[in-house]
């Protein structure tokens, strides 16, 4: 027994000593890091981070941004939104040119680019990636419309292509296995290996936009059939990168597809050339050899790594914005110490934040004056200044500012903070100074400190006119269930553009889009619905904008939702990152970026 104690004592003392030793001389872990970079000296490695882990790399099965960012780099679509040009417009990726519209205004003719190859993979004959053909496009569209594969995003094309809705219904009826070759879609025709056509159900200027979505990426039948359930972890695309090291919760490594067909854009916005954004015009992309994507879920380590130069590009959150940047009349700037080290962009998001009223709620739904009172009591500008460091614009219409038909083009007015009006409306509503008004519950979809602080701001605001607000911090699924079953009073909401068109925002209040569609207020107004349908398929221009103004007037008077603000997105990037222009429709444009490796080694 004595022996055991000696051993224990000895080992504990050794441990003490060992700890003392391991603490004092500092383990030089930097060496390992820099050693790695010098080994990869002539390699262009781009270090970015993933804030959340992706769900699926099967293009048709994903609908979360973490997945979309990866899919966009592994697969190609027919179109993308032009990297440099604003307003956002389509440009061809897998196509030789933009498709031509036949005289009937319904049929688009597409021609594929020549020499586009899938990445080498054992699923192909001899393991060599074969050339992309029209059949791949048709297969991919069908797979996208297969109800058994795609449970998330079919609504993007619903009703727009001849025969596709029927195909969608048929796959649902057939169940799991559908042989696409036996089930034709009349609106999609193969002409030859390079050419195909798509026929629309009606004239529709928005019809091509869904083909820029990552869900409509082009996949190879061989890969789908070979890998089956594992296809979502074993992507085979034509894209600029392929997966070199798959590690969902560790460091994901993408490597350059050396035979990629794409080139850097040759045209841009005025001023882009001066900024050096066109220096690589017409060169083969991608420039970067490898992308390293560690999963970093907490903001602090991500920012610390960025400041150490171990990450090349990062979004700037509220707390770090306070520390690193400021706002003046000319816009946003980095503090002096940081502007020497990093570059910054500030780009208006394609996002509208709003609050929803449940129109079926006995209190709020029937009392327009009460809803107006709440709208007058909200200080959106104050909210942006105080809670978001001025990183946003108050919206006076439902459309985010960069999109055609927004407040930049139309003359729309909206509620702004007005205590007298709020009190007047409250009296009109039957609750002078809030007397007799029951507590109103507002639902949030999470309970982190940001939502909690948002709520506290809102609560304080409404308290100034005597309205009492209570929070309902829900889990995400509970939130969805509550909202979509109409079991709520007020809820917070936000909408990010599926495609950069005002229609995508006005549809949020279209009557037939009631839950489970996106119109959670359950509001339905025949005038509004008619105007919406009139404007939906109209090309942008004064005529369409005039209809938007009419719709806005109805929204302003009825207040089924309170439109609040349009966030501005900030990012920092290292000085050695080139070709950076934030494109809100391309969140991960790694194929256009480059690294000044010489500059990076010198620590420019």
């Amino acid at each position: 027994m004595l022996k055991l104690q000696r051993i224990l004592l000895l080992s504990s003392l050794t441990a003490l000593l060992a700890l003392g030793l391991s603490c004092k001389p500092t383990p030089k872990t930097d060496d390992s890091v820099s050693g790695e970079t010098s080994a990869a000296m002539n390699k262009m490695v781009f270090n970015y981070l993933r804030g959340t882990a992706h769900k699926s790399l099967d293009p048709m099965k994903q609908f979360d941004s973490a997945s979309a960012d990866l899919v966009a780099n592994i697969y190609d679509r027919l179109f993308e939104y032009h990297y440099l040009k604003r307003p956002y417009q389509l440009s061809p990726v897998l196509l030789a040119e933009m498709p031509t519209l036949a005289e009937d205004g319904l049929t688009y003719n597409f021609t594929l680019k020549k020499g586009v190859r899938f990445i080498d993979d054992p699923c192909f004959k001899d393991g060599k990636g074969r050339e992309l053909v029209s059949d791949d496009i048709i297969y991919s569209i069908k797979r996208f419309a297969d109800a058994n594969v795609n449970m998330l995003s079919y609504m993007l094309v619903e009703g727009s292509i001849v025969g596709l809705d029927e195909f969608h219904a048929e796959t649902k009826k057939l169940g799991k296995e559908t042989d696409y070759s036996k089930l034709d879609v009349p609106g999609i025709k193969k002409i030859d290996d390079q050419k195909f056509s798509i026929t629309l159900t009606r004239k529709n200027p928005l019809a091509l936009l869904p083909f820029a979505a990552t869900q409509l990426s082009i996949v190879a039948k061989e890969a789908v059939e070979k890998y089956m359930e594992d296809f979502e972890r074993h992507p085979v695309g034509t894209g600029p990168f392929y997966i070199k090291d798959y590690s969902r919760r560790g460091v994901m490594v993408l490597a350059k597809n050396p035979n990629y067909h794409g080139v850097y854009p040759t045209e841009g916005d005025p001023g882009d050339a001066e900024k050096g954004l066109l220096a690589d015009a017409g060169k083969q992309i991608p420039f970067i050899d490898e992308i390293h994507l560690p999963l970093i879920e907490e903001p602090q380590p991500a920012m610390l790594k960025f400041q150490k130069g171990q990450i090349d590009w990062i979004g700037l959150d509220k707390d770090n914005f306070n520390k690193m940047a400021y706002k003046d009349e000319q816009g946003f700037h980095l503090n002096e110490t940081f502007s020497k080290k990093f570059d910054m962009y500030a780009e208006m998001g394609l996002v509208m934040e709003y609050l929803v009223f449940n129109m079926k709620d006995p209190l709020l739904g029937k009392n327009k004056a009460l809803r107006q009172a709440i709208a007058y009591a909200l200080d959106t500008k104050g909210y942006i200044e105080k809670m978001r460091n001025g990183r946003g614009e108050a919206l006076t219409s439902i459309t985010p500012i960069p999109i055609a038909g927004s407040q930049a083009q139309t003359k729309t007015e909206y509620y702004s903070y007005n205590k007298e009006m709020a009190l007047k409306k409250l009296e009109e509503a039957g609750y002078p100074n809030g007397q007799g008004l029951p507590e109103i519950v507002i639902e949030y979809r999470s309970a982190n400190s940001a939502t909690r602080q948002d709520f506290e701001f809102l609560r304080n605001q409404l308290a100034t006119v005597g309205i009492t607000l209570k929070p309902g911090f829900q889990t995400f699924s509970a939130f969805l269930t509550k909202i979509e079953s109409g079991n709520f009073q007020m809820a917070t909401a936000g909408w990010a553009a599926d495609y950069p068109d005002a229609e995508n925002f006005y549809q949020l209040l279209y009557g037939p889009n009631a839950s489970p569609g996106p119109n959670h207020s359950g509001w339905a107004n025949t005038d509004y619905d008619k105007l919406y349908m009139d404007s939906k398929y109209m090309p942008n221009g004064p005529e369409r904008f005039a209809i938007f103004e009419k719709m806005h007037k109805i929204l302003q008077d009825e207040v089924p939702v309170i439109i609040t603000w349009n966030p501005i997105y900030f990012g920092l990037y290292q000085k050695w990152v080139g070709n950076m222009k934030r494109n809100m429709m391309q969140d991960a444009p790694f194929k256009y970026l480059k690294i000044d490796t010489a500059g990076k080694d010198k620590g420019v």
Binding site: S12, A18, T29, D30
Partner: protein
């Protein structure tokens, strides 16, 4: 001995049944709905019904539970709702990573804390004891979260002593694990040293110590020979109880230091109602825990001949 071990292994069955029942009840009846989360906004009622059927969540609860029992027996918990990955693979990848994070500091901490507690107990009542008490209590009154944030910021960022975060497989993981390890040791110090000190003081007051002392045994000898031996049982008990709490700590560590272990996997599974992952992880942990417990009990018998394994 062998008979004892076999009996104890058989005893795992009712415990695992209890765990299975508990986890099943808690997560199937409440908690996040995986179908709603997978389908997100604007899912049609039929899409929800379809997916529910696909995942077998439309079955009556007792059948789902039977299914779960079958999974436990076959060790096949299927694939994650979220990512389609096989649970056995997820676990195999994550468990070693988590262990590499928590086990070394845990072992070091036990030895270190027992040693420090012995020292403090030896100098009981003196200024050293008081100073140590104040120090450990101060260390205890700061939140785990604050330690992580502060240590990462100061030691890794400002003084460049450690990598900020990250993980690599194999031995190359070591540099990434040092700082989290130090935090784990540091955080365990306050409560553990105090607890062990209490245990030692209890033994110091026991009759046999007085006897030993009265016989003229030197103080250090008394301390190490008699007290350490007798204090082993409460120490072992306390150590075992502390193990489940490692997961709580490991989760925050894994998030802040980007270590792909199972703590973070579990939190994400809770938040998305990923039943296969939750069920599988809990059962794996429960089995591991039971086995660990058994080892502890065998150690009891080794340390203290009064305890008989029957």
């Amino acid at each position: 001995m062998l008979g004892y071990i076999i009996r104890r292994l058989l005893y795992m069955i009712p415990i695992l049944l209890g765990v299975a029942f508990l986890v099943f009840t808690l997560f199937t009846t409440v908690g996040e709905d995986p179908v709603r989360i997978a389908l997100g906004n604007h899912a049609s009622p039929e899409a929800i019904a379809d997916l529910r059927a696909k995942w077998g969540l439309d079955q009556p609860l007792h059948l789902q539970f039977l299914d779960f029992l079958k999974q436990i027996i076959t060790f096949d918990y299927g694939r994650s709702f979220n990512t389609g990955e096989k649970l056995s693979e997820l676990f195999a990848q994550g468990a070693l990573v988590s262990l590499s994070l928590t086990l070394p500091p845990f072992l070091i901490a036990v030895m270190l804390n027992v040693s420090m507690a012995l020292i403090v107990a030896y100098y009981r009542g003196s200024i050293i004891d008081r100073f140590a008490t104040a120090f450990f209590i101060m260390a205890m009154s700061i939140s785990y979260l604050v330690y992580i944030i502060a240590f990462q910021y100061i030691l890794a960022f400002q003084f460049d002593l450690f990598p900020i975060n990250g993980y690599e497989h194999g031995l190359r993981a070591i540099p990434y694990l040092v700082l989290p390890g130090i935090i784990i040791i540091f955080v365990s110090m306050g409560p553990d040293v105090r607890m062990y000190r209490t245990v030692f003081l209890d033994e110091i007051k026991a009759d046999y110590v007085r006897t030993a002392r009265s016989k003229g045994a030197a103080e250090p000898r008394v301390l190490f020979k008699h007290i350490l031996k007798n204090a082993m049982i409460p120490i072992l008990t306390y150590t075992v109880v502390a193990i489940p709490f490692l997961v709580l700590g490991a989760f925050l560590m894994e998030r802040f230091f980007s270590i792909p272990g199972i703590g973070d996997l579990m939190i994400n599974a809770i938040n998305t109602g990923d039943f296969p992952v939750l069920k599988g992880l809990t059962m794996y942990i429960a089995i591991g825990y039971s086995i660990f417990n058994l080892i502890t009990d065998i150690l009891y018998a080794y340390v203290d001949p009064r305890v008989k394994l029957t």
